[in-house]
């Protein structure tokens, strides 16, 4: 009798643990190197990696383990296990994201700008971006005059076109909601940033 009840209790505990593991047991704090599951049962997400030697998924960060169920239409029906750490890394511009940048240099065919915010988040270290003459506006792109479009110190809302070359991201202001959002007037009177005579002003 005693033997039977012990195995019954352990079976229930195993069932509960399995339920926790599969449905979303988020109660566990893990450290790097801890086993999160077998590669045949779970997929590694952020903060986890799979070791090819023994096909096991380990944690790579310190934080809470969480299990994301698979999307119903994907071919791979394994849940994804993630570890969310407490350190937030700075934002990094991605192609397609809207950034806020300050113009540093204006040249004949392009303007250089320091990216300060990506979306709503400010960056930890600034990135460099360039706006080429053909990306300033959507119409009459060969007649753009860079010096009347931008001035050093202007704050610009731009779209990241691509990662660009080794030196800078490629930015574009060729949309209605993009372009210079704030600038200092050339007459420097204290009327605030209203005296804009730039061609690239956003609407």
């Amino acid at each position: 009798m005693h033997q039977g009840s012990v195995t019954c209790v352990s079976w229930i505990r195993r069932l509960k643990n399995a339920h926790l593991l599969v449905v979303g047991g988020e109660e566990e704090l893990v450290t790097p190197g801890e086993v999160l599951g077998k590669a045949s049962d779970v997929k590694p997400g952020r903060g986890a990696y799979v070791s090819p030697h023994d096909n096991t998924v380990y944690a790579s960060l310190t934080g809470r383990r969480s299990i994301v169920p698979p999307s119903p239409d994907s071919s791979d029906q394994r849940p994804t296990v993630e570890v969310t750490g407490h350190k937030a890394h700075g934002a990094v511009p991605e192609p397609g994201s809207v950034v806020i940048a300050r113009v540093t240099k204006v040249m004949a065919r392009m303007a250089s700008a320091d990216i300060m915010c990506v979306g709503p988040k400010s960056v930890r270290e600034k990135f460099t971006g360039i706006i080429r003459q053909q990306d300033v506006r959507a119409t009459e792109i060969d007649k753009v005059d860079m010096h009347s479009s931008f001035h050093p110190g202007d704050i610009v809302k731009a779209l990241v076109l691509s990662l660009g070359d080794a030196r800078a991201y490629y930015l574009s202001t060729a949309k209605n909601e993009l372009g210079v959002v704030s600038a200092e007037s050339s007459s420097r009177c204290n009327n605030g940033p209203n005296q804009l005579d730039r061609d690239a002003v956003s609407s």
Binding site: G33, G47, Y49, S51, Y58, S60, T62, G63, K87
Partner: protein, 241 residues
């Protein structure tokens, strides 16, 4: 000189298989992305990690993985005599290289291409085992910075004096001239990332001494894990989670 008394006690009163008291603290350097202070007995080391950030020297940039840089230096006041050139001497360069290779083996560098991770280690008090304390401090600082790693790297040293394997040598035992084996392992994956020894040992004794050092590493790993979990719980509590 007698390093192990007939009763089986060492010079500081420890048993041969006993480690010194360890203490760790996370977040000592607020400006760094991750930092830690690690003490093993009287040896005290501070580690600061900056990264991943943009590579400062473009020519060293690696297109498929992160560049790991490590600098080990001893403070002027860390040893009994005030040192004149604590940085740039051969021993510091060698230890910097060794620690860099150890940490690079465990950081998942392929996740952060074209970026740089800097590990700065400063020995505040040196009483033997500075290399091991530095590796343990660097592991804690990297975990605090949220840099993805395969596993924690922990390190411990062991020696062989008066025909007894001794765990965690202090400065006096280290300067005795006997063999000193430093081991660095990935405890959960059970892999060795660092193995260094001065002097000579017969093979069978070496295996015992290395096994002892690995046991010490595992004990350090358990402590480091507890410290990390405690730190995460405190941070969550402060954030109101």
């Amino acid at each position: 000189m007698e390093y192990v008394s007939p009763e089986g006690l060492r010079l500081d009163g420890r048993r041969p298989m006993e480690m010194r008291q360890i203490r760790a603290e996370i977040g000592a350097v607020a400006k760094a992305d991750g930092s830690a202070v690690f003490e093993m007995g009287n040896t005290k080391v501070i580690a600061a990690v900056y990264g991943p950030r943009e590579v400062q020297n473009r020519s060293q940039q690696l297109s498929d993985q992160a560049l790991v840089r490590c600098e080990y230096s001893m403070a002027n006041f860390s040893t009994g005599d005030r040192m004149r050139r604590p940085k740039g001497d051969r021993r510091s360069t060698e230890i910097s290289l060794v620690i860099r290779q150890t940490m690079e083996a465990c950081i998942l560098t392929h996740l952060m291409p074209r970026s740089q991770i800097d590990i700065f280690l400063q020995v505040l008090q040196a009483d033997g085992g500075t290399r091991s304390a530095c590796i343990n401090a660097a592991t804690l600082a990297l975990a605090d910075a949220g840099i993805p790693m395969r596993d924690l790297v922990t390190s411990c040293s062991a020696g062989y004096l008066n025909s007894t394997p001794l765990l965690d040598l202090n400065y006096v035992e280290d300067s005795a001239g006997g063999p000193d084996v430093t081991v660095g392992i990935l405890p959960k994956l059970d892999k060795v990332t660092l193995l260094q020894m001065d002097a000579k040992l017969p093979m069978d004794i070496f295996e015992n001494v290395m096994q002892l050092a690995m046991e010490g590493c595992k004990a350090v790993a358990n402590y480091i894990r507890e410290v990390l979990l405690e730190n995460t719980k405190t941070l969550e509590y402060r954030r109101g989670v």
